[in-house]
């Protein structure tokens, strides 16, 4: 599989296109269906955070999603130029405490970390931010 890219406008209605794009790449890499679903969900969460927090629903902004095959795995890089969101500042919630106090929101980063093997960030607010999600094949 060759690396490839999709550019989308910062709109929630484009999330399904991103999920389809990433799912096709993950299948090509040999991931089974349940792993494909996890990868697509993690990328959905990353894009949703960008649309909501980094771009604050400005539909004129762009998100670039690149899938790159790795040795025995797949890396997905999601890039934006927003200013509003630094995911490294998001604390991992204690889910028992979270649920018992009926909290809501802020689960996207937790899900990304739970679903993927590696989550890395390069943050330069207003210029170029990138989150890289990596998943490895089981065998």
């Amino acid at each position: 599989m060759e690396a490839r890219t999709i550019n989308i406008e910062s709109r929630t209605e484009r999330l399904s296109a991103v999920r389809d794009f990433v799912s096709a790449a993950a299948r090509e890499c040999g991931f089974p269906d349940d792993e494909v679903s996890k990868i697509a969900l993690a990328v959905d969460e990353a894009c949703t955070n960008i649309i909501k927090h980094a771009y604050r629903y400005d539909p004129n902004k762009k998100i670039t999603v690149t899938v790159k095959p790795k040795t025995r795995g797949l890396e997905i890089a999601i890039a934006d130029t927003g200013t509003g969101f630094d995911p490294t500042r998001v604390q991992t919630p204690d889910m028992k405490e979270y649920l018992s106090h009926y909290r809501h929101g802020g689960l996207g980063v937790y899900l990304m970390k739970s679903l993927m093997d590696k989550v890395e960030y390069t943050i330069d607010p207003g210029r170029s931010n990138e989150v890289r999600l990596t998943k490895y094949l089981a065998h």
């Binding site: 929630t12 209605e13 969900l41 649920l99 009926y102 809501h104």
Partner: protein, 117 residues
């Protein structure tokens, strides 16, 4: 674009929401409106049938979290049923089965609202 639909019906004193399609940040407001309308109309015994729900992200899970407290304050509950393993896994990953009753089929969830005889 994500497809998402909700069918609604009353069964005994329970309001059933049947979810179909993809529940993400784009479609979550549709579910939010449905819950708002139920609460406005004093419907607090709610079963959400997930048989045809193909996908859920944290935006969808957030809707359940946003309304559960108000529903329980009014002596009702939101119970979930008929989840596919794929959708259940997302709930499970976040520990949601600790907070929400999830049954295999809708009837089981509806019956749990009946007073014990």
């Amino acid at each position: 674009m994500s497809e998402f639909k909700i069918a609604q019906r009353e069964q005994e004193s329970v309001h059933v929401l049947e979810l179909k399609g993809y529940l993400d940040a784009h479609t979550a407001p549709t579910l939010e409106e449905a819950f708002q309308s139920l609460l406005k109309n004093q419907r607090f015994n709610i079963v959400v049938n997930c048989k045809d729900l193909s996908y859920i992200s944290s935006a969808g899970l957030g809707v359940f979290m946003a309304y559960i407290e108000d529903v329980r304050k009014n002596k009702g509950d939101i119970k979930l049923s008929n989840m596919s393993p794929k959708v259940y896994n997302v709930f499970d990953l976040l520990g949601f089965p600790l907070l929400y009753e999830i049954t295999r089929d809708e009837q089981e969830a509806v019956k749990k609202f009946s007073p014990a005889k």
